[in-house]
Symmetry: C2
Subunit: 333 residues, 2 copies
């Protein structure tokens, strides 16, 4: 079955070049994908070395990464590449939406244009983050919501489990609740209440509380938390990893000839380390709980990150993970 | 002026050996410190190579690191080394309390035995965490509270500023509010309300919201947040740093002769990296907002970490940072 992707070709720091290049790589690899590129035809067309299964929907309007009121932005810029792409998904002309542009505007487009699965009040932003063994774990919410209830966290657990099962092929994903200790009684009222709901839900495999310290050790396959904490934890992991790599580089540079020579010998090991940490290999961040896959590629995405996001979207469509979710919630009623 | 330290000699993974060794190093360096060691005399005495300015208060009772109900533990174990040490501070026989034992029990001893500064409802747990430039930043609350109000966060800002000024010698500490974006309107209601309070408080130098991603880059000298988020961020930083060092080691070990040779050449640089990350150099975590310094050294503290905690406590007493805090809040009334 053909998979039609609505691509915001103008979103991201290196758009449209990197976006189009990523699409071309995916076009060569996946013959069942049709691409609809929303953006400035004059800029996109010269980059399109192969136009098969590629359609351009021309627009010169775009939402900048700096716009601070995303809801207002999608309402006032109705002809922006992002809003047109989201409309294409809403109208059934495309099966999924991909953008590397303004995160807030993509979240707003997902919720207000593509639309929620009826039973899920609050979709969550989810990424597959790296673990030391290379398997990774899915965490949500990473910041789609500033506040969440225990019921939202339970939905996140179901969403994350569906993703880990279908997209990552984990038969029985271990779901952990992010908390400040392992005992059931730990945490603020939100965590205590969420613990009860998760423990009582037999559609998931809840393993109890997990601590942020153990995430990279692979303590769970799915980790649920509220959007504020998830955002802080994600940014702490990113900031620490990036600071450490910077420090390592600086200590090599300032360490004189011995260090530089050493680093040269260690090149393979250092690249391997960088590679393990590169969670963009797993794709983008999914705004999960919507009627169709809506995926955010990192703002600084180069062609290979866009390709990884398309690969991930292809898998989501092939496994029909969203359709299965809708069915799960219908049966639940 | 003599400074009397009440030391829980039985707290921590390597107690009493490492604790006593740390005290002996500090005894040699600081001639104005008197040590009161609470613990098993039969174990402590043979380790005490120099007994000058050292007093042992014998007890065989102790609170284990695994006890999950800390309040119950300090109430039922009235003759434990920790509770006796806390009582010594309460009764004015000692000026500060140090323990590397059960964190929850130390927090409970601090709040219920040593006691709060009247105007501060919720003392916060604060550490100086590492930044890339080596200067560090103070963050609180790291988990003394599961929930906090905006008013608590304002107290944390004052506490952190006093510490940074007096103990770390920063004339005008930049205070940041941990949030999920830099704009004033960001965050959950707690952060929005805290932003208003911090912006209106002219006794501190508030620089606005800071994101977890930028903490190690040194974006602020003092970072305030609620205890749940602070705990998650601290553990994320610790977990990521430790996972990365493990990965680096593994990639060297598995990288064959070239990598091992390279690492040998890079030894100095790698140690320098490890050293920058070692925030125990800055001392322990202070439960701040009490009538006297109460400091938690890491459970796995060796002698040098205990020494660093004593050095920090010495500085807190020498600068009378707690006394100045009390005065600040009295004038405020």
């Amino acid at each position: 079955m053909k998979k039609k992707l609505a691509i915001d070709a103008m979103g991201g720091d290196f758009a449209p070049k990197s976006v189009v290049e990523g699409c071309l790589s995916a076009q060569a690899k996946y013959t069942d994908i049709e691409f609809i590129l929303f953006g400035d035809e004059a800029q996109i067309k010269p980059l399109l070395t192969d136009t098969s299964r590629m359609t351009i929907v021309h627009t010169t309007e775009k939402i900048d990464s700096g716009e601070s009121d995303p809801v207002k932005a999608i309402r006032s810029k109705r002809n922006s590449s992002l809003v047109l792409a989201a409309n294409a998904v809403k109208n059934g002309e495309a099966d999924a939406l991909i953008s590397a542009g303004n995160t807030g505007a993509l979240l707003a487009s997902g919720i207000f244009i593509v639309g929620r699965i009826k039973q899920i009040d609050r979709p969550g932003l989810m990424s597959t983050l790296p673990t030391m063994d290379g398997k990774g774990f899915d965490m949500l919410d990473l910041g789609a919501n500033a506040e969440n209830t225990a019921r939202h966290l339970q939905h996140f657990a179901v969403l994350g489990s569906f993703y880990a099962q279908n997209v990552r092929g984990i038969a029985k994903p271990r779901v952990g609740l992010l908390n400040n200790g392992s005992e059931a009684s730990k945490g603020a009222p939100l965590q205590k209440e969420a613990y009860e709901l998760l423990a009582a839900d037999d559609t998931i495999h809840f393993i109890g509380n997990v601590e942020a310290r153990d995430l990279m050790a692979g303590v769970a396959d799915v980790v649920v938390t509220d959007g504020f904490t998830g955002n802080a934890v994600l940014k702490s992991i990113e900031g620490t990893a990036s600071s450490l790599m910077t420090l390592l580089k600086a200590s090599i540079t300032n360490g004189g000839m011995r260090s530089k020579l050493g680093a040269l010998f260690m090149k393979k090991s250092l690249y391997q380390l960088k590679d393990t940490l590169d969670y963009e290999k797993a794709g983008g961040a999914v705004l999960f709980g919507l009627k169709a896959p809506v995926i955010k590629s990192h703002g600084s995405s180069k062609a290979d990150a866009i390709f990884a996001t398309i690969k991930q979207t292809h898998k989501m469509l092939e496994t029909d993970v969203v359709g299965k979710l809708v069915q799960h919630y219908q049966e639940d009623k």
